[in-house]
Structures are given as C-alpha cells and as structure tokens.
Symmetry: C2
Subunit: 225 residues, 2 copies
Amino acid sequence: MQPQDFQTVLEKVFPFWNKLSSAEQAAFCRHTVSAVYQKGQNIHGGSGNCTGGIVVKTGCLRAYLLSDEGKEVTLYRLYPGDICMLSASCVLKAITFDVFVDAEEDSECLIISGKTFAELSEQNLLVENFALQTAVSRFSDVMWVMQQIMFMSLDKRLAVFLNDEMAKTGEPVIRLTQEQIARYMGSAREAVSRMLKYFAAEGIVEQSRGGIKILDKQKLRALTV
Amino acid sequence: MQPQDFQTVLEKVFPFWNKLSSAEQAAFCRHTVSAVYQKGQNIHGGSGNCTGGIVVKTGCLRAYLLSDEGKEVTLYRLYPGDICMLSASCVLKAITFDVFVDAEEDSECLIISGKTFAELSEQNLLVENFALQTAVSRFSDVMWVMQQIMFMSLDKRLAVFLNDEMAKTGEPVIRLTQEQIARYMGSAREAVSRMLKYFAAEGIVEQSRGGIKILDKQKLRALTV
C-alpha cells in the first residue's frame, strides 16, 4: 500500500479529515504503516509501548485484559472501519491502564504512529477530541462487560455468550472448546463446564468434540432475558 | 451562594476558564446551583436524568454501579475540587451507561446544568474536550477496579480494602459492618465474613460490635502485595 492509499482509508475513519490542513493530512499518511496479522497473533500489549492507533481494514481484533496469572477478560472487538485508541496511551495521557489486542481473524490493519498522533493531537483540538471520543465509547463497552461479569449469574452469561456466537456465525454449532469459552467469558473452566452439562441435561445444547451445538434456540434465548 | 461566588469555584475546576468568552463564563455561572447533601443521600442515578456536572466543594461523594438485585460496586470517590461528568450523560453522547452517585459524607456541591454544559460543549471544543478528558480519567479508575475484582483473590482484596480504610482515617479501627465492607468491595457478605474470620484466626484483626480492629499491620500489608 502507498501513502496515497492510506488517505482513502483514513478519511473514512476520521470524521474531521476535511478540516485538517494538508500538512496535517500528509503527516498522518506519512506516519502510517500497513500490517497483516494472522489469526491469534498478538498486536499490542504487555510491553508498555505506545503502538499507536490501530485501524481495522479487514478481519477482526479482540481487546482484552490479562492478569499476571494469565486470566483474560474480553473487553470488546474491533471490526473493519473501527479504530483502537487504547493502544495509543501516549496520545491519551488520562489512560493509565494497558489492554492487549490480538487478531481474532486474519486481519489487515493500518497502524498510525502514536508519536505522530500525539503531536497532531497537541496541535489540533479536533484530533484530540476524536481520540477522546473513541476512548469514551470504549468506556461504555467496558462498563457493559463489567455489569455482565458482576451482576449476571453464570447461566445467563453463558446463554448470552452462546446466543451472540450463534448470531455472529449464523451457525448453530459453536466451534470453541470449554477452555476458550471460559477465557472469553472471564470465568473458570470448571464453572463453564458444569453449566454446559446443565444446559445439555436441559436439552438446550449438545456437546461434541467439534464444539457445542445449540438444540433449543428458544430455551437458550429465554435464559438471556 | 451568589453567581459571582460560583466563578471562584469554577475557575479552579476548569483549567480552560480564562479561554472562555465572558458570555460563556456568565452562562456557566448562571446555570449553576449550590446544593448540600447529607451523608448517605443519593445525588444522581436510576432515573436516567441528566443531572449535570457535580463539583465537590466539601465532603466526599461515591460513584457506583447498582444491579437490579441491589448489588453495588464502588467505582471511584470524588473529593473537594473534583468534578463528576458521568452524571451528565447529555453532555457525553458516547456514555451509554448510568452510574449512581451518593454523598459519602455531608457534602457541599455545585451542580452545573447538564443542558447548559451540553450547549457550551457544542459551541466550544475546549469545553467538550474537558468533559471527555474527565470521563477518560474515570475510565482508568474503573479499569483498576475491574482488575481488582476480576484478578485478585479475596484475601488480597480484603487486605487492600482494610489497609486503604486504615490509611484514610489514620485509625486502626474500621467502623464498618461486614455488610458495608462486602457492598463496597462488590462481594458477597458471606465471603467477606468467612475471610474476616480467617484474618481473626491469623491474629491480623479482631472483630467487635464497633467494627474491625487491625492488630497486625505488617501481616495485613504483606497480604496486599
């Protein structure tokens, strides 16, 4: 990809693109690189580095918290056209935590240099405003996750998770191990395993080596309410 | 309090006060009211209303999540000079969740009308950026709480809580019931009760009707690491 191709992507991501000076537009393009990540590859996190703004062109990224003991909590996913700013802590001084970002599918991204983003955001309030807006939207996502974790009983949470996965793939079979489901939900594998057994006994799901098959969508949906 | 007195408070809270036009300054002062809350009184939350920006003059406020079942999680506390913007969802469109705010001590506050704040923030990027900055700082606080809840074992969390309370009051006796501690920590009372019994058996604390007395500060601190 050439810098002039970056412009096509960036002007879609940045609602304020036309209000930038041509020098500012050029600086953004010059300090952007394109990158390809394979499914499962780590893109950001752990090192304390300011990776920069990550723009998703194709594929899907997952942002999560990771504890010292290796426990994960998924915070949100990023789809084509989305930009991740929590990976640019040098732009947002008020962000004092670090998230991890992995490619959940093979993904093509643009990485906008954190340093350049920070410089332009100091010069131009519109740039800073955009970075803050983006972070605040993620705040809302994270609060939703927090409420799920804190307040929902596990049966409801598991039902919501399975239902969402089914909606995402359009298939009644969820090709994830109990281990993976537990990790995505931020729960213990044992607890998820026990609940899946309960769901199976209720005729809601059927477990096999390939994953979890939803047998009774209505019953599952009833649990999510 | 008179509008001219509000100015003295607002110019300390808003770092951009001198960059506002006098019309903007006057609008802020005109649409601010002073309010006195008693310890335990609810200030914001539940109704979906946009209360506005809450500036703490004296006392202490507590922001928390509340589930349908009445379970609470403390997100952060606000001290004199702090401003709460999450109570002004009409200013921050990207905020789609609601927090509750209570007076934790007898408190004097200024309430800046949400409607006026929203109007000024549409007119002036500095105002909007301040509101966003404030929200993003709270995001960092909330992520810290989330990591505590998700990743820390209860013994560590309880030790951190008791240690913080002791540091706050400067006294070795924590005058809270098990019920209150559990609520502040977002845990079940039974779990906190069990852990306190364990701490007592270890000679770390002594439980009485008046509260919890820390007997062994070093042992307690060792648990927080």
